[in-house]
């Protein structure tokens, strides 16, 4: 079974090398989707053995993830794992995600930072709101809606292939999981918060909520 990890990243030259090195231990191939970085992160990833796809301009996390996943799909991946390039996810959790996916014959396994880490209070609050919205709007009961660490099958990717360019990609995946009635499970993962100014902001959170509302109405 062919497993490919997709790491979307933007200006992560300090962490990407280590993330790629660690990830390579658990998958057959690592694809780094460099979203128009201004630093040397693409070179760093390449030096550490990743296949690097470069966007000539910054397009957003969702767009970047889709470029990487499309490539993984074309390369014949049976399982696709996505994780962040800033080192907040522990690649050592990959076997747990893929193992659960295979053993329990699921379509998608979502990582949850909720139980195992010191998530900042503002993020916890935002997550609670978005998680309630996911449950009410799409019938998907997950605690951590914004975690970028997940694994899914080739077949599932065909059904969840998203349109979101930005951080709402994680919510769109949840929305599509509910809509397509995919078999899912949320499992706890380790997380290290590197930079509290990176990732989803309050404004992103509000934007995601309104997009979820829109998807619900358009359903």
């Amino acid at each position: 079974m062919h497993t490919i990890a997709v790491i979307p990243e933007f200006n992560e030259e300090r962490s990407i090398g280590k993330v790629v090195r660690e990830t390579r231990k658990y998958v057959d191939r690592v694809i780094v989707s460099d979203d128009g970085s201004k630093d040397r992160s693409g070179e760093e990833a390449e030096k550490n053995g990743a296949l690097v796809l470069r966007h000539i301009i910054n397009m957003g996390k969702g767009f970047s993830m889709r470029t990487g996943c499309d490539k993984a799909f074309l390369m014949g991946a049976d399982f696709i794992v996505t994780l962040d390039g800033d080192g907040q996810h522990a690649p050592g959790d990959i076997p747990k995600l893929v193992g659960t996916l295979r053993k329990e014959k699921l379509d998608i396994v979502l990582g949850s930072r909720y139980l195992k880490t010191e998530m900042p209070v503002t993020k916890q609050l935002g997550n609670w709101l978005l998680s309630s919205a996911s449950r009410i709007f799409f019938g998907v009961d997950v605690k951590d809606t914004q975690c970028g660490f997940k694994a899914f099958t080739r077949q599932a990717y065909g059904k969840i292939r998203w349109d979101s360019r930005n951080y709402s990609v994680e919510s769109e995946i949840i929305m599509r999981t509910g809509k397509e009635k995919l078999k899912y499970k949320e499992i706890p993962i380790r997380t290290i918060y590197q930079d509290k100014f990176k990732g989803t902001t309050i404004i992103d959170g509000a934007r995601i909520f309104f997009r979820m509302l829109w998807w619900r109405m358009a359903k």
């Binding site: 296949l51 397009m59 490539k71």
Partner: protein, 114 residues
Amino acid sequence: MITGIQVLGILFALGIIYLSYLFYRKKDFSAADFAVWAFIGLAVLVPVLFSESLMFLVEPLTFYRLFDLLTAGGFIILFAVVFRMYGIARKNERSIDGIVRALALREEKHKSKR
């Protein structure tokens, strides 16, 4: 006598005509773009200078004053322009998406061939 609002209208219309000519000279606009925008400038100028010429529309369209008619007309035109711009922006966005993704995948393909 020309009123204050007419002066503003004249300046606005002349501004449109001047800027479109400037863009045409800089080759940012084609001759057709210049013609369209100059026509729009003139189309603004005519009712501003000869506002009485539109009085015949006020009553059939159930407006009380000519000013109301011009304001409503302005909003309708503005809405149409925004709608058209939105369509163009979305189309461009989709084109950019396609180009960026195709370039990323093509660059990698070339690299792996080498």
